[in-house]
């Protein structure tokens, strides 16, 4: 995300209790953390709370953070934990968006639909389809299509081999294609 030397310095300052340094860290990573969470959790209204939780955990964990891993890798791991734990909450685990219910509505014939509307519709359906993926697949899809998040970092953060990350991602996309069969034609 930013250069390793500066990153190490920032971490060191944070560890010495420099509040300004931690504020800088939050500022640097807030969009990444927020985007990952907002794209992964079902309940978008909780995204800010969860993102704040991620930073509180980072703050708590900084004294134990060893410089071996990249800061960003460690942050992905915390984001993954927060998302998975949030998913485990029973009230949210049962929340699934049904695509099928909405498909019973009146359908436009492709010829009558202009491109812009189709894109808009696809975007809407895509979000709903992504919401139906399991939490870890949602996180992978979210992260892979965000700037600056490399496969390798994700694999390290999730403790998975690189090949597994790719396979899981392909499987998630296959599932998305099935869910969006009509929209992608």
């Amino acid at each position: 995300m930013f250069d390793p030397v500066h990153e190490r310095e920032l971490v060191e300052r944070c560890r010495r209790g420099d509040e300004g340094a931690f504020e800088e860290l939050v500022d640097r990573y807030k969009d990444l953390v927020f985007a990952l969470i907002a794209r992964t959790v079902q309940d978008k209204s909780r995204a800010e709370d969860l993102a704040q939780d991620v930073f509180l955990r980072i703050h708590r964990g900084l004294p134990y953070f060893r410089g071996e891993a990249r800061l960003s890798t460690w942050i992905y791991r915390i984001v993954a934990n927060v998302c998975v734990q949030n998913q485990a909450r029973p009230a949210l685990a049962t929340t699934t968006v049904s695509l099928d219910d909405e498909r019973t509505g009146e359908r436009h014939t492709p010829s009558a639909v202009d491109r812009g509307f189709r894109d808009f519709e696809l975007r809407d359906r895509l979000e709903k389809a992504v919401a139906r993926l399991p939490a870890n697949a949602r996180l992978l899809v979210a992260a892979h299509y965000l700037d600056g998040v490399r496969y390798e970092e994700l694999a390290e953060a999730l403790g998975l081999p690189l090949g597994t990350v790719k396979t899981q991602l392909y499987r998630a996309k296959q599932q998305l294609r099935r869910l969006l069969e009509t929209e992608l034609k």
Partner: protein
């Protein structure tokens, strides 16, 4: 049969990890089913890349820092309470120590002393208590010191 193989590669072709060559390219060119799958995979790829990127709300950093400071203040309050409790335990230990010392000095508690009073042995009691006076004084000083530290710590925080 070969469709299965080709379909497995569709996602990696669509995201640019793989370039179709030889058999695969030939199959995709002739099988409408697999060609359609590749088409939809490409469209999905585009849509995923075009997903809006949610951004942290305004004042996110400030709000996070406020929560952090509040948490820290609370944990300091907790430390405070812990410190007071620890001092309380020390004071109790001192009082306990005084009682033990009194017993060891032979002024075997007021309960037994009452018997002496009943039997009119007030003088004898006083005589027995006399050697223990320095112990009383020491214990009182210790207790006063403990209370003093407590008061000082309270004032500092």
């Amino acid at each position: 049969m070969f469709c299965d193989e080709a379909l497995d590669l569709v996602e990696s072709i669509a995201d640019g990890e793989l370039t179709p060559e030889g058999r695969v390219a030939a199959h995709l060119a002739t099988c409408p089913n697999c060609a359609a799958a590749l088409d939809s995979a490409r469209r999905l790829e585009q849509a995923l890349r075009a997903r809006p990127v949610p951004r942290a709300p305004a004042r996110f950093t400030a709000r996070t820092m406020t929560i952090l400071r509040r948490r820290r203040w609370r944990s300091e309050q907790f430390l405070d309470v812990g410190f007071n409790l620890a001092l309380g335990v020390v004071a109790l230990a001192v009082v306990g120590g005084v009682v033990v010392l009194l017993n060891r000095a032979g002024v075997t508690s007021i309960g037994n002393g009452a018997m002496d009073v009943m039997s009119g042995g007030v003088m004898r009691l006083a005589r027995r208590a006399a050697p223990a006076v320095p112990v009383y004084a020491g214990a009182t000083a210790l207790l006063a010191a403990a209370l003093g530290i407590w008061w000082w710590a309270e004032k500092e925080i």
